[in-house]
């Protein structure tokens, strides 16, 4: 097969940090080429270089054998490169149709010829099975549909090479199937796809070739047929993956938190709680299993004091909670890893250092007079120690937190929440979107906390994660507790049935 794209010796530096270092990548016509690597391995940076969003510090790009300079996304689009970003680039105030035609340079005329453009888009969407409602505002369609809009945007501009940056992260299984069918169709037409993912099952299924990146370098390019998932995983994290089997605790200590018959907007099946009774004891991990949107968010909010239940009672370390405020729960030594790290867990515009110390500013170690005067030096030393202890990879602790990769952002939150030595840790989807390395690190920290006597409430939609770390598994369905199971040799069949509400 002939070569479509070749990137040679690409180096991209942000200040002192190398995001890409001497990377080589070759993509052929009509293939699905996977970029595999952990968070922060440099996949997205490399693709942003290809798409003209970043200028490479060094290196060159060849397209169809011709050396090209891509200094803007406009140039990339002209060269037939389309990209679906991990964070969607959709203008919320506009409709699906407007988002697709935005920036269009292929058609003449000043005015928008709605009928003609719509016909073209409908044809395109039928050809690739990308079903969208053109006249809806993009805010009113589901995540899967938003992604289809993003793909249509790229195809509408005549992309010959489509970059999909972790496209399956937010999709349901059914939608992933649709995505793969679309990718197959593109291949048939001789178009190429660069697929970024770290889900091994998907990678092994859809790719023709796989290039592995680690620490900003190319490790190797492999044919799918000539490799196995295990080999890829090993190359990706650069060490043998030890299936960490945590020892399961069977006898928990005294209860840290106990919910009795808790109701919250009980009639709402997806955003409510209906008679939930649940105990988390010292030194155990209780895993809440269930399909997302069956009351898990509300449960997390009740046990962290964000919302107050409509009925029922909550006992904290033996005494009934009267006032539900986040601060009250923090004073009771409850730590929280929230479900949305960007919106709830971090102040993105603040530095890594400040985020680490955020919850402890009143601590005499960091300030005098209860937070009135900050001890800058002590904070800095503490942050440096934490950065080391939790292996937070950043250019400097003064860097803004929002510029870090997802895994490192989560580590900041983890560090901040664990340093207060909590009695109860509420972790909601703590490893969502993270790679294997970061995820197992977070699991280790949770188990460590458990062994110290902390009660851990883990809420996750990732069933494997629940099985991996939970000592006790509680299944939720439509706001109700469907059953409780032991985490040691869990009865998978029964749990699955319970998750389906049976």
């Amino acid at each position: 097969m002939e070569e479509l794209l070749r990137m040679e010796h690409i180096t991209k530096r942000f200040g002192d940090v190398y995001a890409n270092r001497d990377i080589d990548l070759e993509v052929r016509k009509g293939e699905v080429h996977t970029l595999l690597g952990e968070n922060g391995a440099g996949k997205s940076t490399l693709m942003n270089v290809l798409f003209g969003l970043y200028q490479p510090t060094e290196g060159s790009i060849y397209l169809r054998g011709q050396k090209v300079r891509i200094d803007s996304p406009a140039q990339a689009v002209r060269l037939g490169i389309g990209m679906v970003h991990q964070h969607f680039m959709l203008v919320e105030a506009m409709t699906v149709f407007e988002n697709i035609i935005l920036g269009d340079k292929n058609t003449k005329g000043i005015f928008i010829d709605k009928e003609a453009r719509k016909k073209e888009i409908v044809e395109l969407s039928e050809r690739y099975g990308l079903d969208v409602e053109l006249d809806k505002p993009v805010t009113e369609i589901a995540v899967g549909a938003q992604q289809r809009v993003e793909i249509l945007k790229a195809l509408y501009r005549g992309a010959e090479l489509l970059v999909l940056d972790e496209p399956s992260a937010a999709l349901t299984d059914l939608e992933v199937e649709g995505l793969f069918r679309m990718m197959g169709k593109l291949k048939e037409e001789g178009k190429s796809v660069i697929f970024i993912s770290h889900k091994m099952r998907e990678v092994m299924r859809i790719s023709d070739r796989i290039t592995i990146l680690r620490d900003g370098r190319t490790i190797r390019t492999l044919d799918r047929e000539a490799t196995t998932g295990e080999e890829l995983a090993d190359l990706m994290i650069g060490r043998e993956l030890v299936p960490s089997q945590y020892v399961k605790v069977e006898q928990a200590g005294e209860p840290v938190i106990a919910l009795r018959e808790v109701d919250y907007h009980k009639t709402s099946k997806h955003n409510g709680l209906n008679g939930v009774t649940l105990t988390v004891g010292r030194g155990e991990v209780v895993g809440i299993a269930g399909v997302d949107g069956n009351g898990q968010s509300q449960l997390a909010q009740v046990v962290t004091g964000v919302i107050a239940p409509d009925a029922g009672s909550v006992d904290m370390k033996g005494s009934t909670v009267a006032q539900f405020t986040p601060n009250g729960f923090i004073l009771e030594n409850v730590s929280h890893i929230p479900e949305d790290r960007n919106k709830m867990g971090l102040v993105g515009d603040m530095s890594v250092k400040d985020n680490i110390v955020l919850k402890a500013t009143g601590d005499p170690r960091f300030s005098a007079a209860k937070g009135f005067f900050l001890k800058k030096k002590a904070i800095r030393d503490h942050a440096l120690a934490i950065q080391k202890k939790y292996d937070i990879r950043c250019a400097s602790i003064d860097q803004e937190a929002r510029n870090l990769s997802g895994g490192n952002q989560q580590k900041i939150i983890l560090a901040r929440e664990m340093e207060s030595q909590p009695d109860l840790l509420v972790a909601v989807h703590p490893t969502r979107g993270l790679d294997i390395g970061a995820a197992s690190f977070i699991h280790d920290v949770m188990i460590e906390a458990r062994d110290r006597g902390c009660g851990v409430l883990l809420i996750s939609a990732d069933f494997d994660e629940i099985l991996e770390v939970s000592d006790r598994i509680v299944v939720m369905f439509e706001g109700q507790v469907m059953g409780e199971f032991s985490g040691k040799e869990p009865p998978i069949d029964q749990i699955s049935l319970a998750m389906a509400g049976k």
């Binding site: 942000f14 798409f51 969003l53 970043y54 200028q55 803007s72 996304p73 406009a74 140039q75 689009v77 002209r78 990209m83 970003h85 680039m89 959709l90 203008v91 919320e92 105030a93 506009m94 407007e98 035609i101 935005l102 920036g103 269009d104 340079k105 058609t107 005329g109 000043i110 005015f111 928008i112 945007k153 501009r157 510029n403």
Partner: protein
């Protein structure tokens, strides 16, 4: 209350609304590209002085209007360079324009005419009916024909803006820059370019709005003659929900309040005239309080666009 009071009031409303329309459109074009501009007042002040000075020297209000627009663009380039290229805080630079341009206008006036000189006066732009030689005091004739070219231009601009933002490809791209510049950039739209174009349009319109006050409205220049209209224009954009039509209605409303206060001042009431003067401002506060918190403006407004941000 007789008929003449009402017709006069309505005619005055149109007169008062015209400079507001220019200023509010200036703000609209700026905000639609993501630049919240609180310095319209200052741009209008320098436009007003330039318009006055040029028409005083050249005797042509039209030239004054034109150079007023040019001056508005020139001064607004300070704001544009700082906020677009240097990614500086928009509020801070808007305020700087207000302080700088107002003072500059006042300074130039003093230097040219000298302190305490007799009040200089200029001829105003002629209206269409006087140019055509029509004299009639019929309400509709007065409303439609006894207006300067600038009034027609203002309404023409509103219509153009409405069509531009809603029907054209270029307008759609322009709006995308204000909503989500990064997304616009990934679609090949020149974000920085659009923002500079926006600043040129904004400067020109604000300069014209200011020049209107000294070439079509009042024969003299006094410091502070913009009298908060730049800020009312800001309110009009919010009140008008960032659409051309809405902005027009908001300007007519504020223009009406302005006209009303003047009418009431000269109506010979025993109330201190300052109370009447407060009407447009109180209306502004009331309106903003009523529609207040619901922010529906461009999502990217107020934030700088940095190219290689992670």
């Amino acid at each position: 209350m007789d008929m003449t009071f009402v017709t006069n009031l309505l005619l005055a409303s149109v007169h008062m609304a015209t400079p507001l329309i220019f200023l509010a459109l200036a703000e609209l074009y700026s905000q639609r590209a993501g630049l919240v501009h609180i310095g319209i007042e200052g741009l209008a002040a320098i436009g007003s002085l330039t318009g006055f000075l040029v028409s005083y020297i050249s005797g042509s209000p039209m030239t004054g209007m034109f150079l007023g627009a040019l001056m508005g663009i020139l001064v607004n380039m300070i704001y544009a360079y700082a906020t677009i290229t240097l990614c500086a805080e928009q509020t801070v630079y808007g305020m700087i324009i207000n302080i700088f341009a107002l003072a500059l206008a006042s300074f130039i006036y003093r230097v040219y005419f000298g302190a305490g000189a007799s009040l200089a006066q200029v001829n105003l732009m002629s209206t269409l009916s006087s140019a055509l030689g029509i004299t009639s005091d019929n309400f509709f004739v007065e409303l439609l024909l006894d207006q300067t070219l600038m009034v027609y231009l203002a309404y023409g601009l509103v219509l153009f803006t409405a069509v531009y933002f809603n029907k054209t490809k270029s307008g759609l791209n322009y709006k995308a820059v204000g909503e989500y510049p990064k997304a616009a950039a990934t679609l090949g739209i020149n974000v920085i370019g659009v923002k500079y174009v926006a600043s040129i349009i904004c400067g020109a319109l604000a300069g014209m709005g200011g020049a209107y006050l000294t070439t079509c409205y009042s024969t003299t220049y006094v410091d502070g003659n913009v009298a908060g209209r730049g800020f009312i224009a800001l309110a009009a954009v919010i009140f008008g929900r960032w659409s051309a039509g809405g902005v027009l209605l908001a300007c007519l409303f504020f223009g009406f309040c302005d006209a009303l206060q003047i009418r009431l001042q000269i109506s010979g009431s025993s109330m201190p005239y300052q109370f009447f003067q407060m009407i447009p401002y109180i209306a502004t506060v009331a309106v903003l309080t009523l529609i207040g918190a619901k922010k529906a403006g461009p999502k990217g407004a107020g934030k700088p666009y940095r190219k290689e941000e992670r």
